[in-house]
Symmetry: C2
Subunit: 169 residues, 2 copies
Amino acid sequence: MIHIYTGNGKGKTTSALGLIVRALGHKKRVCLIQFMKKDDQYGEILFFKNNSISIDIFQYGTDNFVDPTNPQEIDKQQANLAYIKAIESIESNQYDLIVLDEINVAVKWELITIEMQKKLFDFVTDAEIVMTGRCADIDMINMADLVTEMKEIKHYFNAGQDARKGIEY
Amino acid sequence: MIHIYTGNGKGKTTSALGLIVRALGHKKRVCLIQFMKKDDQYGEILFFKNNSISIDIFQYGTDNFVDPTNPQEIDKQQANLAYIKAIESIESNQYDLIVLDEINVAVKWELITIEMQKKLFDFVTDAEIVMTGRCADIDMINMADLVTEMKEIKHYFNAGQDARKGIEY
């Protein structure tokens, strides 16, 4: 099954993390591939590392945030590496759950193409594949087995609250 | 801050679980209180137990699902115990993150009253409080600091797929 968690509200990546925890609890094999992220100080990364959790994590990003109005060549290279890892992970049949974190945004910002994302639907696999990120393409929504829109009804960011350690990262 | 994750789509409890993981990664102290659930075979519960994760978990339910058209006295008793534990947890100042899983549904099904849920907003606390479950009351949405509606765009349940171990529980 392919899940898509999209929308402008809080809860997309955390939802994927929750699925990971649930799957690991049942001894499933899990792979987390993060597009446009490269930071081992995220709470979730620290958690899995500190507790020696059996999960394969691959981050593909740079030390800088991607500028959507002017993405750099290195950003595209990293996203393409993440994509290659995604295919490798699916083809390996080593995993029961594969999370492609922020892949929807990587497509939206044209770091990889929508055709590439579509191609992921062609693989025959028993693995559960989870794609997160705002602005999922309408074709993805039509093709996926499960789609939840995380819709922002209200966010404390709009009241001036900054991102906080342990809550947003 | 008080978060509400509501709506009919998949991703509410998993989102709270993801927040838990992120908070634990930054050494925050976490309490998970589950309304209407009593099953130590949920993937997330097994995960936290098997990996000796430092988290306090309290489940309040019975071996049977609550029948919303005919809730039993024991269902109300359990929900009230969960509520008392919620207040204790907040007042203890022992936790940085307190998750009240399915509390919105417990209110909707009148196992506890909306006034009781509202009262939780009166406590002065630095803890992050997360309330999950469909059908959050409009007053809760107005009072919370962050609200995400997990909106079902598409769900494989509607295509006949049953709940699966490691994905739905």
